[in-house]
Subunit: 139 residues, 2 copies
DNA sequence: TTAAATGCAAAATATTTGCACGTTG
DNA sequence: CAACGTGCAAATATTTTGCATTTAA
């Protein structure tokens, strides 16, 4: 789905250098495109021979977000979570058991009337539905 | 709109004792029903002759949330924010300039089809629209 | 009076920053 | 080689916790 070379291209376009550390973090994100990971979860997935400093992880996920290659959210305990961007605008069904993320398309018209009614100028929105995915509901 | 005695009643029903500290925090929340406040913002609004420990503020807002008298969210920088509950299910237009919150009614049918499609069992949802309110847009 | 609440101090957690050194382009 | 990135250590910031003392009911 998501092309590694595309990502590298976007990063270079944004003035980023491709380092061993960034490649490792990207590999982890590419392996987890349907879950959002915290900095700590990224760290724990780094091959143990390879050491990457926490500060480097934090700096890089922020850099990636600035470059527009990943989306972020904050979970209910205040942790920052990240995953690679998809191309089309969408929202998330988030499984509270296994963390799986299922996308569904964005439908902006739902709240548009309320924007007009209140003369409110939207900059962005957050729509997340929490619950159990089919796999976890079965158990 | 929101009745103080109702709140006290709910708190007592939940086994809470009414203390000087809780009353002060509730007064602040009652004065700010259209903004969400962080623990720090609550602290800064406490009359200066009255000292309330940070730990007490944190314990109380959590207790209030457990008792169902306030709703909470986490802002984009990871801070916990709180405001007294309204009665009817709704979502928020959140002004990023002044912090004002405008409610608009919940319409669940928008994402229902995607729940069915994915056999997803919803427990709760978060819908927030960010931007500028009419007052702040004028400036 | 007694269970719950508070203040204080210390701990836990997540994230950020300064700086010297290493590495990429 | 020059700019950017990294590791390390220390600093922030928010929130949580243990415990002795106070207080509401």
């Amino acid at each position: 789905m998501i092309d590694k070379e595309d990502i590298y291209k976007k990063l270079k376009a944004g003035g980023h250098r491709i380092t061993r550390q960034k490649m490792a973090i990207l590999d982890i994100l590419l392996d987890n495109t349907d879950t959002m990971l915290s900095a700590g979860e990224i760290r724990s997935r780094i091959p143990m021979q390879m050491k990457i400093d926490d500060a480097t992880i934090y700096r890089n996920v922020q850099g990636f977000a600035d470059a527009g290659i990943l989306e972020s959210m904050i979970d209910s305990s205040g942790l920052n979570l990240y995953k690679l961007c998809d191309s089309s605008p969408h929202h998330h069904l988030i499984c509270t058991e296994c963390g799986r993320i299922i996308n569904f398309p964005c439908r902006v018209d739902f709240w548009k009337p309320y924007l007009k009614e209140n003369n409110f100028i939207e900059s962005h929105h957050v729509i997340e539905i929490y619950g159990k995915c089919s796999d976890c509901a079965d158990k």
